[in-house]
């Protein structure tokens, strides 16, 4: 919105989304009518909460309010945090101890005997998050049906608790065999820790994951304990700072599932935040699917080092049950985001055989591409795009960074062009084309894994380095319609505002469909719902601030059964229709299961009864329902172009040609861009190739029709 419009708009019942990235902290405010306003500020990595408060001041300024006026009118703030992600990536989390069943101290280190990278025998062994001296055994044993084989030796447990404390651990995982069937021993161990008056961050494996498989459970609990204390401190600091600044609204945290949790609960369930930021992008993609009235959208987000791909089907981001991050396994559901090692910083080089390759290694942000002038000496995708004229040396990132074209050229000449006998431009075009091919191939694979034909999808691209390749990717996949949202630069933060509060619980069921009774299923679901109600009552779910009190009735429950054929390992999730009542489960499970199985695998086992492995319940509180953000052609920062913005660009597409340079924020609904042209904003540049046409749609997005279909 333009400043004059922002000020005259009646802002009330606002929600604010905040996403902290490596470079920028993005803020988006939405009000009850869906109107949005956005701002960006530099991140403050030492204490990210500082940047948040800075951003809030800027946002209030944009709204023409004082901060306290803005806080008064704000219902809640939704935050996506990279604290858990970074803690895990940098391996600088808490010193964690484990108490586990006698005989099973090494489950985490044995890793189910797996390793990635089949031809690489030289990678050093990665130590697990909990080292062996911090893994202590306690005398107890349960049977697979929950019976007690060896009772808990409490005196011994107390000794082991003291031993861990003496080792100086900051967090404790209690991981016992079969605890998902009978949690009594894990609960008792926590009581004993409390009895010792030890205020330590404690994680019980069955509370993090209520399902069979000790490695999955212990590993997920270990991640939770490893990132939890730091996340807890960070969220505490952020809340304190907000209170100091006079804000009273509750703080909700984006989960990897695309749901929200109150800060307190999020700190306890820290493993749920590991892909908090990217989940915002997927949620925003679902929002656009809804706005556009389409069911299926595939989105890719190309940043500095990676491309994240997510798929929205039937209007919802697709989920996965498990995540593997290098050697770490996380077995709780999350939005399924495929990460491909390709970004602006990806390194282009000739391989040992003399053929040009791109990635998977990256120059990252530091040293970064050669043209950043921060010491990078290897050719990157960004360098190639600069040489081709797609990126402007003077107005990159809205002029915040000057790019060194001469250096980029020199390095491409020496490392690629000369050895291959090409001109610098041709070499750069090759790097650019490889990038489009790699993104397209990854998008295709993502669709195929879900049994979908990429041609039936809408392509959406966001992230700084994506827009130059959008049209090429769509073209390569024969996708007729591609979209670059105007809010691309604050996409995750926008997605936070389209999310609902969500809590999950699950328990094993373990019966063939043919043996499952409606009563047994109902009892399992009711127990889960009771547990969720209790968690809600315990959690500070809306701070008593919004829509009355933390009333359980404001929640809705969604029930799921995870099914498979008995001898299989992976399951398919089916939602339980609301009206099943006392119907025999076969009546409502079989047909949808077989349909979904066929979609994924192309066949069904008609003579075999499916097996219901797990029952799950998600509790939602619809906070976004009434007021989804409604982007428009006055969205984003609505910033004017830099003074030196060039309206004519010289780009290389096989030959040097002059094409128009347009400023995204100046294009209004209905505007039409005939390719070839470049559309630039402060955060990304979109290339519209010859033969393609782009229009600004009702939501302010650049909508590209590919050359084949136009």
């Amino acid at each position: 919105m333009k400043t004059s419009q922002i000020i005259h708009h009646q802002w009330g019942n606002m929600r604010i989304g905040v996403d902290i990235g490596g470079t920028f902290t993005d803020l988006v405010a939405v009000d009850a009518d869906g109107g949005i306003v956005t701002t960006k500020t530099l991140s403050t990595p030492q204490d990210p909460s500082e940047g948040v408060v800075q951003g809030l001041l800027l946002l209030a300024n944009r709204l023409g309010m004082t901060p306290s006026q803005m806080y008064e009118r704000t219902e809640l703030m939704i935050h996506g945090t990279t604290v858990a992600t970074n803690t895990l990536a940098q391996r600088n989390g808490a010193h964690v101890g484990l108490l586990t069943t006698l005989g099973f101290r090494d489950v985490l280190e044995l890793r189910e005997g797996t390793k990635t990278g089949r031809y690489d025998l030289h990678t050093p062994f990665p130590q697990p998050l909990i080292r062996r001296p911090d893994r202590l055994e306690i005398v107890e044993r349960l049977r697979h049906d929950g019976r007690v084989e060896v009772p808990l030796d409490e005196a011994h447990v107390l000794q082991q608790i003291d031993a861990l404390r003496a080792r100086g651990v900051e967090a404790v995982v209690v991981g016992l065999l079969h605890s998902h069937i009978n949690p009594a021993h894990e609960l008792r161990v926590r009581a004993l820790i409390q009895q010792r008056d030890w205020q330590v961050y404690t994680v019980l494996s069955h509370e993090i994951l209520g399902s069979e498989g000790e490695y999955d459970r212990f590993s997920t609990a270990a991640v939770n304990a490893y990132v939890g204390p730091r996340l807890d401190r960070y969220l505490g600091r952020l809340e304190a700072r907000l209170r100091e600044a006079g804000a009273r609204f509750p703080l909700l945290i984006m989960q990897s599932t695309g749901g929200l949790l109150p800060a307190l609960e999020a700190a306890r369930y820290a493993v749920g935040c590991v892909t908090s930021g990217p989940a915002g992008g997927a949620t925003a993609t679902a929002l656009y699917a809804k706005l556009l009235g389409v069911d299926r959208v595939v989105a890719y987000d190309t940043g500095g080092t990676t491309t994240d791909i997510s798929l929205v089907d039937e209007g919802k981001p697709q989920e996965r049950r498990k995540t593997e991050l290098e050697d770490i396994k996380i077995a709780v559901p999350s939005i399924d985001i495929q990460v491909v090692a390709l970004g602006g910083g990806s390194i282009a080089r000739l391989d040992a055989g003399g053929i040009l390759t791109l990635g998977p290694d990256s120059a990252g942000a530091l040293p970064g591409p050669v043209c950043y002038g921060r010491g990078g000496e290897q050719v990157t995708l960004t360098d190639a795009n600069l040489v081709l004229g797609y990126l402007s040396p003077t107005t990159f990132l809205g002029g915040r960074m000057q790019l060194d074209l001469a250096r980029a050229k020199a390095v491409i000449r020496a490392q690629i062009a000369e050895p291959l006998g090409l001109t610098v431009e041709e070499a750069s075009l090759a790097v650019n084309a490889l990038a489009s091919s790699r993104i397209a191939s990854a998008v295709r694979t993502t669709a195929l894994r879900r049994g979908l034909d990429p041609r039936e999808l809408t392509l959406l691209s966001f992230g700084g380095a994506g827009g130059l390749h959008t049209a090429a990717v769509a073209n390569e996949l024969s996708i007729p319609h591609a979209l670059v949202p105007r809010e691309a630069s604050v996409f995750s933060a926008l997605g936070f505002l389209a999310a609902d509060v969500r809590l999950d619980a699950q328990s094993p069921f373990g019966k063939l469909l043919s043996d499952a009774t409606p009563e047994a299923l109902e009892a399992t679901f009711q127990a889960l719902e009771k547990q969720l109600r209790e968690r809600m009552a315990a959690g500070d779910f809306d701070g008593g601030k919004t829509s009355g009190s933390a009333n359980n009735d404001t929640f809705s429950f969604m029930r799921y059964v995870d099914c498979r054929y008995r001898r299989q390992i992976s399951t398919l999730a089916l939602s339980v229709p609301a009206d099943v009542g006392r119907q025999t489960p076969v009546d409502w499970v079989l047909a949808p299961f077989e349909a979904k199985y066929r979609q994924y695998y192309g066949h069904v086992h008609a003579n075999e009864s499916p097996y219901i492995e797990t029952c799950r319940v998600s509790a939602y509180r619809m906070i976004a329902g009434g007021s989804l953000p409604r982007p428009s052609d006055h969205g984003a920062g609505d910033l004017p172009p830099p003074g030196n913005f060039a309206r004519v660009r010289r780009v290389f597409t096989g030959e040097w040609i002059d094409i128009p340079g347009l400023w995204f924020d100046e294009l209004r609904e209905g505007a039409c861009v005939e390719g070839p042209a470049l559309v630039e904003s402060t955060t990304t540049t979109v290339f519209v190739p010859a033969g393609s046409t782009a229009r600004i749609d009702a939501f302010g997005s650049l909508s590209i029709q590919s050359e084949q279909r136009a």
Partner: protein
């Protein structure tokens, strides 16, 4: 924005010249380097799409979950251009199968054909691995093959699943399929499909899996056709040649960095029968500049047991060894093998003649061949070779469960340690060198729920890794109490109960597998070839798996690492004192954290150096 839509004009001729010199090898290259790198990537994408289709469409858990299959794209004469990273031992072997298909149907291949074959004496490896391959024709010329090799759950033979220690000839091992047309000019031969499936104990799965293979290669051919449409046959042919040449060049460059010479590597298998000597596989390796000859002429004659390795498998295993040695760089293809000459003596254990049985070749014998090459190159490529890994040693327990229902259980847990190398210790509990860490072991909780067992322990086995500057990875201890309703049979198969994983560069060997049965407090050792053993309810099976071999002199091991090993319980104090005299020097509490940091940094710098962490 595609390159084909924007041909670079004006200086096309100059490209040809420039490439001929830069990509070199003296061939006539008529492709520009831009198209070349894009085409190479797109061919890989074809192989990957075959994998996706297969994963979705296949029936058996071994395929859609364990993914025991591989895909490749080959040129018109059956040279492997690119592969989707799956089962290492499949890859080098695929070209043999496709070349024999070409031979079998010379002059009689047509668009829409899909060929099936599994016979080891027709270019196959072992019978469970069934290969389907489809040719792509452009203007009547055969230009490309897309192949998919998948391990079928059951292909008949004496034992369910195909591994029959008692097989004495190939016919005992299952159905033999020479190259045959499963699909002829686009028409599926139902009769042939029925005949093949009828020979399986699980005909429904077999049918689904074969059809999945078929649809995957058909899809691959369609994608390949799109590439030929877009770039034209002339460009594609040039690209295929250039891709192979680049693979060759990369391997030659790697080989020329090693020390030339004539080397011998020997690796032993456990004796096949009590009282016999261990069975050696000997590789005489001549490394001369940028090429290498691996001569197995001295190997033992073929035996009447399933450990014979057909030539395709032997060459594939050599290929895997060189992939490990060169770090498995991108762009591996058949060009790389041009620099590696493998010599065998027909009728020997590594090049058997019909009717020798072969089923264990892709696992056991492949491991031993890989080891022989590694050991041979200890002097030539000291920073690349890896010490010995634990071998596969499996148990099958068959009996009745708690409620009297019959069951058969196979061990997939507790695989043993990996060997150390010139930069780091070996991994613990990783297992076999032919497929390190390839498939996850089942959980203790699920095992107890599904079988009449109580697992008492699953833990690292201290002191099992060979001592050295870099220690071998640890094996594991897995103790299982049998709780069935009646007596059960227990059948061990495998290797490594007598031959220990070798140490390199002066390091110690790892400990061997040591399995036993404990009945009423008395432990009885379990041999890898024992038969007709029983388990009583209440008996314990104690599995101690082998540790990896070490690398380098123990006296050079960092004192802080020795201390860490003792603190962590990887090595007992007594064993440490026996192997490492330097134990009492140079350690202080703080070096702990530094050590951890150092581990991490090494991993990071590896990643920067292009090491793979995929």
């Amino acid at each position: 924005m595609t390159l084909s839509a924007h041909p670079i004009e004006g200086n096309g001729e100059a490209h040809v010249e420039a490439c001929a010199t830069s990509i070199g090898m003296g061939d006539k290259v008529t492709i520009d380097p831009i198209t070349l790198s894009v085409v190479r990537f797109k061919l890989l994408a074809v192989a990957e799409e075959v994998v996706e289709v297969m994963t979705q469409a296949s029936f058996s858990p071994i395929l859609n979950q364990s993914r025991d299959f591989s895909s490749a794209v080959l040129d018109g004469v059956g040279q492997l251009l690119t592969q989707a990273e799956r089962v290492p031992i499949h890859m080098g072997a695929l070209p043999f199968a496709v070349k024999r298909m070409l031979e079998a149907f010379e002059g009689d291949l047509h668009p829409g054909d899909v060929i099936v074959a599994n016979d080891p004496y027709w270019g196959g490896s072992h019978l469970p691995d069934v290969t389907l391959a489809a040719p792509l024709f452009v203007n009547g010329e055969l230009v490309l093959w897309v192949a998919n090799r998948a391990h079928q759950g059951d292909i008949g033979g004496i034992s369910p699943g195909g591994y029959s220690p008692s097989a004495r000839e190939i016919w005992h091992e299952g159905i033999r399929i020479p190259p045959m047309k499963l699909v002829a000019k686009g028409v599926l031969r139902e009769d042939l499909l029925r005949m093949i499936c009828t020979n399986s104990r699980t005909p429904e799965d077999m049918r689904g899996d074969l059809l999945a293979q078929m649809s995957s290669v058909v899809r691959g051919v369609a994608r390949g056709a799109e590439l030929y449409d877009r770039y034209g046959t002339r460009v594609m042919t040039a690209a295929c040649d250039a891709i192979l040449n680049a693979g060759e060049r990369a391997m030659r460059q790697q080989l020329s960095q090693w020390t030339p010479g004539v080397y011998e590597g020997v690796s032993l298998m456990d004796p096949q029968r009590a009282g016999e000597a261990p069975l050696p596989i000997k590789a005489r390796i001549t490394l001369s500049g940028d090429h290498v000859k691996v001569d197995f002429s001295d190997c033992a004659p073929q035996v009447a047991s399933f450990i014979n390795s057909p030539l395709a498998n032997t060459k594939a295993a050599v290929n895997v060894a060189f992939m490990y040695l060169s770090g498995g760089q991108d762009g591996q293809n058949e060009g790389s093998t041009r620099a590696i000459k493998v010599i065998t003596r027909p009728g020997s254990i590594v090049d058997p003649l019909e009717p020798a049985p072969v089923t264990a070749c892709t696992t056991l014998t492949a491991s031993v061949i890989i080891e022989a090459v590694m050991r041979g190159l200890e002097q030539a490529a000291p920073t690349r070779v890896v010490a010995g890994f634990a071998r596969r040693f499996r148990l099958a327990i068959g009996g009745t469960d708690r409620v009297g229902k019959r069951f058969i259980w196979h061990t997939f847990a507790n695989r043993g340690g990996a060997g150390g190398h010139a930069r780091a210790d070996g991994w613990s509990n990783l297992g076999v060198v032919h497929n390190p860490g390839g498939s996850p072991s089942p959980s203790v909780e699920r095992t107890e729920a599904a079988y009449p067992f109580l697992i008492e322990t699953y833990a690292l086995r201290p002191d099992s890794g060979g001592a050295g500057q870099y220690r071998g990875g640890l094996g594991g201890i897995y103790i299982l109490r049998y709780e069935g309703a009646s007596v059960a049979s227990i059948t061990p198969t495998g290797d490594g109960a007598e031959i220990a994983p070798y140490g390199l560069a002066g390091a110690q060997d790892g400990q061997t597998h040591a399995y036993s049965i404990e009945r009423a407090g008395v432990e009885t050792q379990l041999g890898a070839k024992d038969a007709n053993l029983t388990l009583q309810p209440g008996d314990k099976v104690i599995c101690r798996s082998a540790g990896g071999g070490g690398y380098g002199l123990a006296a050079r091991r960092d004192a802080a690492e020795i201390r860490r090993d003792i603190d962590y319980g990887y090595v007992s104090e007594a064993a440490a004192r026996a192997h490492y005299p330097q134990i009492d020097t140079g350690y202080d509490e703080r070096s702990h954290g530094n050590l951890a940091d150092r581990d991490h940094k090494t991993a990071e710098s590896d990643a920067r150096d292009g090491g793979r962490h995929g």
